[in-house]
């Protein structure tokens, strides 16, 4: 089975892509928020760890969905790498929380590792990472979501940071040949889906089995 996760930062249209792929008859696995509302963070390490446990529980549910599918190709909206890059992003945006975020990050990776080893979580064997290289295209997407561009200007750099991290982590765990990134700036949604399909054809299912603890 080719198990492909559509990964990357916010606003690149991952969910739209996965929904489009579902419309084309591919089997898909929904994002984490499809399993109910998240616990709100109060900034403490304890709560962040509880949130991480909740994420891992949702990842287990996604793996259960995956095991029921017998298709050649399954697309998932995000992957466990999102849990890790989320903590990296929080540490970047809130330097004061850096220490606590890295503690949570370590906790997440170890929790994921245990679950991967016992088979409760399956990592994707390919990653497709849509990215937006054009700042104006990024701002246009943000505005379309009803968010004030001024506030989001700085988020373009964050978006690029997350994208880079995701590519880096994906290559480290799955190998370069299993990770494809696609610039979707200024593309219509149907063009984006065509580009993603072309990238999915290119991405080779990973043969290497590097432990996720390599990201510690």
């Amino acid at each position: 089975m080719k198990f492909i996760s559509i990964e990357g930062s916010s606003f690149v249209g991952k969910t739209t892509i996965v929904n489009d792929l579902g419309r084309m008859g591919f089997q898909t696995i929904p994002e984490y928020d499809a399993f109910g509302p998240f616990i709100q963070s109060d900034g403490t390490v304890e709560t962040n760890k509880r949130i991480a446990q909740d994420f891992v529980y949702r990842e287990q549910k996604r793996t259960e969905m995956l095991t029921k599918l017998s298709n050649q190709i399954v697309f998932a909206d995000r992957s466990p790498l999102s849990l890790i890059t989320f903590e990296d992003m929080q540490a970047l945006e809130h330097p004061g929380e850096k220490k606590y975020r890295y503690e949570t990050r370590k906790y997440i990776i170890e929790l994921l590792h245990d679950n991967i080893v016992n088979g409760s979580i399956v990592l994707p064997n390919s990653l497709i990472i849509p990215r937006i290289d054009s700042q104006s295209s990024f701002l246009e997407r943000v505005t379309k979501r009803g968010i004030t561009p001024v506030q989001e200007l700085s988020k373009f750099a964050v978006q690029q940071f997350i994208t880079e991290k995701t590519i880096q982590y994906g290559c480290r765990i799955l190998g370069n040949e299993s990770v494809e990134s696609v610039d979707v700036s200024n593309q219509s949604s149907s063009n984006v889906t065509d580009l993603i399909i072309a990238a999915a054809q290119e991405a080779k299912p990973s043969l290497q089995n590097k432990p996720i603890t390599d990201l510690l």
């Binding site: 084309m24 008859g25 065509d194 054809q201």
Partner: protein, 319 residues
Amino acid sequence: MATRYKLLQDHINDYGFSVDKLASYEPVNMSLSVVIPYFNTGKIFQRTLYFLHQSILQYGSEVEVIVIDDGSKINPLNPAWLKNNERLILHEKNKGRTEARNTGIASATNDVIFFMDSDILVEASVIKQHAILHSKAKENNLKSIVISFFEFTNKYDERIDFLSLNASHLQLNDFRLDCIYDASWIGCEEDKAYIGQHLQLIKETNNLRDWRGQYKAWMLPNMVLGGAFSVVKSEIVAINGFDTRFTGYGFTETSAVTRMIAERNNVVIPSLKGGALHIEDEEINLPKSQKDEIFKDKHNFYFNIFLKEEIESKSDEDK
């Protein structure tokens, strides 16, 4: 005046070029409309559309797609499966594939109409190949009917979920390319002589160029199967579309192309590159035994009534 049978006997199908030597040929000004009748097909149609879109993408020019939901009640077509620029026409009641195709013809705006069934997964080069062959025929001042070939398979085939389908994925098992004549195919007593014979109809007739009159158990129009074939729009319009006397299973396309060949001198050209997966789903389609029964009745009507009808040929009109 002559019978259609006589006109078919006299038809010369030599279209004047080698279909397997067109690798570098590019179609010129070929606008295509795809017409797909849909009736209760369900989710497999998402994959039909997916592979059609891949094939259109490879062709590289805009192609009009028209889907006719012919009164589906069990699995009506979900409009969200179609792209924004694709047209869905609804028949309130089920009228049959013949009338659904005629609805498509009336709506099509391009020069060539590619008819396909809703359970056909085309390989990526199919649309372009049809455009190439029509374009090449047009160069020779001919109106063509282009046919694709199939690998018949079932709904559990793993290739249904592939990201792409190309020629190397297919193992065509189409009777027109290679077959042992089966006892269940007999349409009349004379056909019994062919039972057990190994036939390669396309190859034996120089890719249909040497076809004259009846070849073994078949007439040239029998080489056109409904799943994936294309015609020049003005030609099918000239014969008033598909003949509603053939509504239902069997001979629907055969009767239309018979008229196009016999009365309008259209040539039949095989598209030998690529092909399509034909997904057979007995939950949706008629069981084979029932198909065979209907086929016998239609066979009788086609050969003993339809082909014997006297009509004016294009050459009569020209006089």
